[in-house]
Subunit: 283 residues, 2 copies
């Protein structure tokens, strides 16, 4: 077998896209297994949502107003039958937009939106916890190893129900994450963050100033490896998901950026093998 | 918790996109775990390749000539800063192609291409086995439940090396798959298939007629749940991957369409619970 598959290189990236070698795959899976255990502990059931979201659904949550730069849209050739073999020019690096059809779908930028779209119109929803893992995509102005990727995997544990339950959901996960990082010996701290979803220019910025909606778990003061997010009843309203009294549900979620955990675990020159042993011992 | 999360509905699909509920997620993971065990048994190491492939890489293997209809291309807004809040029209269902940039990347339609792109230019490669699981996308003229999806997951176990090793790799997996399906009691048979990669109009069609390059494992004579594929030295040539003598390597792969296994396991009215028990008993 090739040597490089056995060396300590757990991951590489190019143009914001990561290649995980065996050690990196094992680390991602080990971190996700821990998050999934917690999800089961709080009664969340695992769902796997469609890997594409419709432009119509995204527009229903003002997505293009708030994140015009982020969305990775999908398309296809407008005239696939139009080219005879060899009709394509010599190996080119791109397909012109004139050869594409309009985009009706995008790749998700967060895992949890799909849960709200899936529940669109659900009446009299009892408090519900859902966990899902999704590959997410975000156009960024620059990429940096596993720390800032064009495409990455996110595990989320989502709560839908009443305001107090939504707040308790986040408090629970703040405690679990802080305790686990202490056992792992990772240098982390919580920091209140601005949720880019609540655009500075929009009316929701005021609400953001009143009550923080996002807190990030920062590794070494700079790398957000997890976040807890309170959405109040925003998604309940936009997706017409209501509680037993007919009021839009409140939602909240905790998210784990899986590749960023790998970056933190491999920091300080720790090998994949040592990081895996650390995770095993901390179980 | 909501009732529907506990019912027997393991999966639903709409417009070729599947939503897997807990039973469906468990089934996909159980089938993949079995394939991964086999992969480890034959010495394959697990890789996770970039979830997008470049148009340039695809052109290097004549992809757009052979599969002009299949590729799902990705793009983004050309002028993300151009719209003020509220500038977007009322919730629309699409983003016009004129608002997109040219597409330089596509979503993969098969898991194994990325392995060859990753090894591009590798000299003196010793025989290598790699396994990878990837979310694939294919534009089709129609979709049908879990049996024909726009997006699905594929586990592949890939061989790179000499011609005889490539053939033996496929023979091994044909044996393993036939034996496992017998234990599971699944009605399957192998059928020689035309690999659409080897376009009827192209010169490779002749080679295809001489030696079958693809065999599919058909459930009930109609649903291909796995396939074995011999590529001769095509990818070795195109990606300049050479053996110790400087000759392009021969490659072959076995692929598992994970959602199709779920469809077969849930056939005949079997519940997800019963299908999981069947997989457990057959381990």
């Amino acid at each position: 077998m090739r040597m490089f598959l056995r060396d300590e290189t757990a991951a590489t990236s190019r143009e914001g896209l990561a290649t995980l070698r065996p050690g990196g795959v094992a680390l991602v899976e080990a971190v996700d297994a821990k998050a999934l255990t917690w999800a089961h502990d709080v009664g969340a059931e695992e769902m796997r949502f469609p890997p594409l979201v419709s432009v119509a659904d995204l527009m229903s949550i003002d997505y293009f107003d708030n994140f015009p730069q982020l969305p990775v849209l999908v398309s296809r050739l407008a005239k696939p039958g139009g080219s005879e073999p060899g009709a394509w020019p010599e190996p080119a690096a791109r397909v012109g937009r004139d050869e594409l059809v309009d985009a009706e779908y995008a790749l998700p930028s967060s895992a949890c939106y799909s849960a709200y779209f899936d529940l669109r119109g659900a009446p009299a929803l009892a408090p519900t916890r859902i966990t899902t893992r999704a590959r997410c995509y975000r156009n960024e102005s620059r990429y940096e190893g596993l720390r800032r990727l064009w495409s990455f995997e996110m595990r989320e544990i989502i709560y839908l129900g009443q305001a107090d339950g939504a707040a308790e959901h986040l408090a629970t996960f703040k405690r679990l994450l802080s305790a686990w990082c202490a056992v792992l010996g990772l240098d982390v701290a919580w920091r209140t963050a601005v949720d880019p979803f609540f655009d500075k220019r929009g009316p929701r910025a005021l609400a953001q100033a009143i009550a923080p909606v996002k807190e990030e778990l920062l590794y070494k003061g700079e790398l957000a490896i997890a976040s807890v997010n309170a959405h109040r009843n925003f998604f309940g309203e936009r997706c017409q998901i209501t509680d037993h009294e007919g009021a839009p549900v409140h939602t909240s979620c905790v998210g784990f950026g899986l590749e960023r955990w790998v970056a933190a675990l491999l920091d300080d020159g720790r090998t994949a093998e040592k990081a895996l042993a650390l995770l095993r011992d901390a179980r």
